[in-house]
C-alpha cells in the first residue's frame, strides 16, 4: 500500500495517530509524511469558514443506531453466521467475508442487502447464496449490526480486533542458543555480568527478543551512545558524542555539553566513529531466524 495509515473509523483513527507517527519507519522513503496538524494558517482569508482538518475525515462510516444493531446481532447469528462466520470474515461453508464486500460497504440501511437475502446470489465462479425468507425489517437490523462491526475495523483495511490470542514465540532450542551466544556474543556480553537476570527485565519473550536484537540490553543502557574523534589537518583532536554526520558536516556534543560542528570535504578532517551498535548491526545479515529463536530461548532462562 501507499502508506502506513488507513483511516477507517473516527474513534479508531484518533487512537491510531500515535502509532502512525511512531510507525513511520524510515519515513523519508515516501518523501517525509507531514501529518495534518490542526490550527496554523487554517482560516479562510475573508473571515469565512474552514475548520482545521481532522486527522480523520468523516469518511466511509455511517452513524450506527445501536439499538437497531443490538436487535440485529442475534438475527445475524441465526440467519447469516453459519456461512459468513461469527466474525463476519467468511466461513468454511463458503460464505464470503462481509467486511470487505462491496454490497455491504455501499449499503446504507439494508437496501442493498435485502434483495440479496430475498433472491439469493448466484455469481459465476462464486459460492451460491440461497434465497432466504427474512423480513425487510429484520434485514435492516442485520445490516445495522454488520455496519456496527465494520465500524470497529482497524486502520489500513484491517479487520476488527478479535479476542486476544496468546502466541508462543518460544520455538527455539535453548542449548543451541547457548552455543551461539558463547561463540558470537560472549566477547562483549556475559550472562553473569551485564546480562544477569535479563529475562526478569521483560514481561514477555517477544520484548526480550526485540531488545537483544536491537542491542538495547547490556551495559547499563548506554549501548546506543555513538562517539567520534575529529582530527583536523594540524593533528588537533576533538572528541565527543556524535550528533550528526553526512558528507558535508559532522557535529559533536562535547563533554561540557556544548556542540561543535566541522565542515567536511572528502576525508578532511578525519573522522573516526565508535558505534557500540556496530557489532549488532553487522550481525543482521548474518543471523538465521533459527539462531535468533535459539538465542531468545536461551536468554529467557536467565531469570
Amino acid at each position: 500500500m501507499q502508506r502506513w495509515t488507513k483511516p477507517v473509523t473516527g474513534l479508531f483513527l484518533l487512537f491510531c495517530l500515535t502509532t502512525v507517527l511512531i510507525g513511520q519507519q524510515r519515513g523519508g522513503a515516501r518523501g517525509g509524511a507531514v501529518p495534518a496538524a490542526p490550527g496554523a494558517q487554517g482560516n479562510r482569508g475573508g473571515g469565512g469558514g474552514g475548520r482545521p482538518a481532522p486527522t480523520n475525515f468523516p469518511a466511509q462510516q455511517r452513524v450506527i443506531d445501536t439499538a437497531l444493531a443490538a436487535r440485529g446481532n442475534p438475527l445475524y447469528a441465526t440467519h447469516c453466521g453459519t456461512c459468513h462466520g461469527t466474525d463476519l470474515r467468511g466461513g468454511q461453508r463458503g460464505g464470503t467475508n462481509l467486511l470487505r464486500s462491496a454490497i455491504v460497504l455501499n449499503d446504507k440501511a439494508g437496501e442493498l442487502i435485502f434483495p440479496v437475502v430475498r433472491d439469493g446470489l448466484n455469481n459465476p465462479g462464486m459460492s451460491p447464496m440461497p434465497p432466504m425468507s427474512v423480513s425487510q425489517d429484520d434485514v435492516k437490523a442485520i445490516a445495522e449490526y454488520i455496519a456496527s462491526i465494520a465500524a470497529t475495523a482497524q486502520r489500513q483495511g484491517g479487520p476488527p480486533p478479535g479476542p486476544p490470542v496468546t502466541l508462543n514465540i518460544l520455538v527455539g532450542d535453548a542449548a543451541a542458543g547457548k552455543v551461539y551466544f558463547d561463540a558470537k556474543c560472549g566477547s562483549c556480553h556475559s550472562v553473569a555480568g551485564d546480562l544477569k537476570g535479563i529475562a526478569a527485565r521483560f514481561t514477555n519473550p517477544r520484548d526480550l527478543q526485540n531488545s537483544w536484537l536491537a542491542g538495547g540490553g547490556g551495559r547499563g543502557g548506554n549501548a546506543a551512545r555513538v562517539t567520534a574523534t575529529v582530527t583536523n589537518q594540524n593533528g588537533q583532536k576533538v572528541e565527543g558524542q556524535l550528533n550528526r554526520i553526512d558528507d558535508f558536516i559532522v557535529i559533536l556534543t562535547l563533554a561540557d555539553g556544548s556542540t561543535q560542528s566541522f565542515r567536511r570535504n572528502g576525508d578532511v578532517p578525519k573522522v573516526e566513529i565508535r558505534d557500540p551498535r556496530e557489532a549488532h548491526r553487522n550481525l543482521l545479515p548474518a543471523y538465521t531466524d533459527k539462531d535468533i529463536h535459539n538465542v531468545t530461548a536461551y536468554l529467557v532462562t536467565l531469570k
Binding site: 519507519q25 514465540i169 558528507d247 551498535r277 535468533i292
Partner: protein
C-alpha cells in the same frame, strides 16, 4: 489568380488562426513525445520515465554556481480568490500541506499540488496566480503526485476519488467525475497521464478490493476503458494463480504511481501494487497475478499486451507500483527496446518492452533476504519462511522498501539507471494466524531494528546487465526522487536533509544545499536560463545560473 498566388492568399488568411493556435498555450499531447528539455509538461517530464533532461547550461562545472532564484510557499488557506469545488459538506483546511509529486511547468507557470489543492504559480517569482480547493468527502489524504495537462485543460485526482478538470489559465472547474468507489475505501493520488486523447488514471486502496486503471476522455470526462489488475470473472487470465475468484476479486494490485508510454507499440507500461490481504497470504496461495507486476496495456483499448511479475505472491506490502524507465540499449550487438524497474523488494529487472520477455534480474538491495532463488522465467521465488511468522522472521528491506514511489532516473550518456537503495531490517511477527488470512495490511507486527544505517546508498545500475556501476554511501535513507541531465549531473537527496548535485559518472558530490526535499527535482528553461526546481514540504525552491 494563379495557383501559387491563391495558395499565398490562403496562407495569409490562415496565418492568424495558426498563430492563435500556437500562442494559445497549454500542452499539445503530441509535444509530450519530444525528449525532455525546455518545459516539464508531464509527471516524469516525458514519456520515458528517464528524468533525463537534454539541458546543458547546468553541468558538472557550472553546477557549483547554482543560486537561489526564489522561495515560495504554497498556501492552503482559502483566500478571497480561492476557487472552491467538491462534494464534501465542510471546508477542511489543513494546517500543513506537502508537495510530494511532480510540479508541471508549462508556459512559465508551475502547477504544484497537495491532496485537495492545486496551485498555479508564476515560475519567475513564485507568486500564486490561482488556487483551487476541493471540499473532500474524506478518506486517506496521504499525498498527491501532481496534475496532467491536455491542451488548456488541467486534470488531477482527489483523495475521495474524483477526476477533476480545470481550465489551465483560470483554475475554474470544467467538470468532475467519480473514478472509484469511496465506500470501498479507495483513495486516489496518482498524477493523471495524458496520452493522445486519453487521460489515464489510477487509484489506491488498503482494504481488500480489486485494483484497476482507467482511461477518460479529456473533453467529455467520459470513461473509455477500465482495466482490472486482478481477475474479476470466471475464465479471466491469471485466475489460475488465485485459489478462487473471491480471493482474486479482493486481491489488490493498485495502480497509484504514473507509468511510462512507448509510442511505437502504443503501450502504457506501469507497475501494480501489492496483493491483499497484504501480509497474510494464507487465504491467497499462488502467484497472485497481476499484482506486483510490470503491466503493459494498449492505450487505446486498455487490453493487456504483456506482464512481468516483479514480486511473486508478495507478503510484505512491497508494492511494485514505482515508475519504470524505457531504455534503448545494445545487448550482445543487438539494439533492444527495454524497460527497467527497481522494485521496492530490492530486485532490479530489465525486460523487453515489446514482448515482456525477461532480460535481466539482479538483487540491488544489498541485504534483501526474502528470496529462495530465481525461476527460469527470471521472476524471483519468495521464501515462505521470510513471511511474518509467529516467532518472528528477520527481513530486509522494511515495509517502505529498498525504493518506493520517489522516481529513479536513467542517463543515456552514462548508461546508468539511478535509484535510491534503502537497506533496513525488521522482525516480522505474525499476530493473526487465522487460516483465512487477515485483511488489508493487518495481521502482523513489525519491529524495526534501528541500529544506525547498515548502508543506504545512491546506486547506479547498468540496466543491460544489472551490475552495479557505483554506490554512493548515504548517511540516511529515504528522501525524494532523482533527476539527471545532459550536463552530467544527478540531483538527489542524500537522505540526511541535503539536496545534492552528484557527478552522474561516479556519484561524487559537486554542489549541495541544506534542503530536505519531498518530491523529485525538475529542470527547465525560462528566459534563456536553466532552472532547477525542488519542493520541501509546502515550500518550492527555484535555482538557476546567472
Amino acid at each position: 489568380m494563379k495557383p501559387v498566388k491563391l495558395l499565398l492568399v490562403a496562407l495569409l488568411l490562415l496565418l492568424p488562426t495558426l498563430l492563435v493556435s500556437q500562442s494559445s498555450g497549454g500542452v499539445d499531447p503530441a509535444s509530450l513525445l519530444k525528449p525532455l528539455a525546455d518545459t516539464w509538461p508531464t509527471y516524469s517530464g516525458d514519456y520515458t520515465g528517464r528524468r533525463y533532461s537534454a539541458l546543458k547550461q547546468v553541468d558538472r562545472n557550472t553546477v557549483k554556481n547554482l543560486t537561489l532564484g526564489w522561495i515560495g510557499r504554497v498556501n492552503p488557506a482559502l483566500g478571497a480568490g480561492t476557487i472552491v469545488g467538491g462534494e464534501g459538506a465542510e471546508e477542511w483546511t489543513p494546517g500543513n500541506v506537502s508537495v510530494r509529486g511532480a510540479v508541471l511547468m508549462v508556459d512559465g507557470i508551475l502547477y504544484p499540488t497537495a491532496p485537495d489543492h492545486v496551485w498555479a504559480i508564476d515560475a519567475r517569482d513564485g507568486r500564486q496566480l490561482w488556487h483551487y480547493y476541493w471540499k473532500t468527502r474524506g478518506g486517506t489524504h496521504i499525498g498527491n503526485r501532481g496534475v496532467g495537462i491536455w491542451r488548456n485543460y488541467l486534470f488531477f485526482e482527489t483523495p475521495d476519488n474524483y477526476l477533476v478538470s480545470l481550465d489551465l489559465k483560470t483554475g475554474k472547474e470544467r467538470w468532475h467525475v467519480e473514478i472509484a468507489d469511496f465506500d470501498q475505501q479507495y483513495f486516489s493520488t496518482m498524477a493523471p497521464m495524458i496520452i493522445g486523447d486519453h487521460v489515464i488514471v489510477g487509484t489506491g486502496n488498503d482494504l481488500d478490493a480489486p485494483g484497476f486503471l482507467q482511461s477518460y476522455h479529456p473533453e467529455t470526462g467520459k470513461l473509455e476503458w477500465k482495466f482490472y489488475t486482478v481477475p474479476m470473472n470466471p475464465g479471466d487470465p491469471g485466475l489460475e494463480t488465485w485459489p478462487n475468484l473471491d480471493a482474486a476479486r479482493h486481491g489488490g494490485g493498485f495502480s497509484w504511481v504514473p507509468g511510462v508510454y512507448d509510442p511505437e507499440t502504443r503501450l502504457y507500461i506501469f507497475g501494480t501494487g501489492n496483493p491483499t490481504p497484504g501480509y497474510t497470504g494464507a487465504g491467497r496461495p499462488g502467484d497472485n497475478l497481476y499484482t506486483c507486476s510490470l503491466v503493459a496495456v494498449n492505450v487505446d483499448t486498455g487490453k493487456m499486451a504483456w506482464y512481468f511479475q516483479t514480486s511473486v505472491h508478495d507478503t510484505h506490502d512491497w508494492d511494485s507500483a514505482q515508475t519504470p524507465i524505457l531504455i534503448d540499449a545494445t545487448i550482445n550487438g543487438q539494439p533492444r527496446k527495454l524497460v527497467s524497474t527497481a522494485a521496492r523488494n530490492g530486485y532490479f529487472y530489465t525486460v523487453d518492452r515489446v514482448t515482456g520477455k525477461h532480460v535481466v534480474t539482479t538483487k540491488y538491495g544489498s541485504y534483501s533476504n526474502w528470496a529462495k532463488g530465481l525461476r527460469p522465467d527470471g521472476t524471483v521465488e519468495p521464501d515462505p519462511l521470510k513471511e511474518a511468522i509467529i516467532p518472528g522472521s528477520l527481513v530486509s528491506p522494511v515495509e517502505g522498501g529498498v525504493a518506493n514511489w520517489p522516481p529513479p532516473a536513467y542517463s543515456p550518456d552514462t548508461g546508468f539507471f539511478y535509484t535510491k537503495e534503502n537497506n533496513g531490517f525488521n522482525v516480522l511477527y505474525l499476530t493473526d494466524p487465522d487460516p483465512r488470512g487477515s485483511m488489508g495490511l493487518a495481521g502482523k507486527q513489525p519491529f524495526g531494528l534501528n541500529l544506525g544505517s547498515i548502508g543506504d546508498f545512491l546506486t547506479a545500475i547498468d540496466p543491460r546487465t544489472g551490475k552495479i556501476g557505483w554506490r554512493r554511501k548515504l548517511y540516511g535513507g529515504g528522501g525524494g526522487g532523482l533527476l539527471t541531465t545532459a550536463g552530467g549531473v544527478l540531483f538527489a537527496s542524500d537522505g540526511s536533509g541535503n539536496f545534492v548535485a552528484y557527478d552522474a559518472r561516479n556519484g561524487n558530490p559537486l554542489w549541495h544545499t541544506r534542503i530536505n526535499i519531498s518530491n523529485a527535482p525538475q529542470t527547465y528553461m525560462l528566459d534563456g536560463r536553466q532552472h532547477v526546481l525542488v519542493a520541501s514540504g509546502d515550500t518550492l525552491y527555484d535555482f538557476l545560473l546567472y
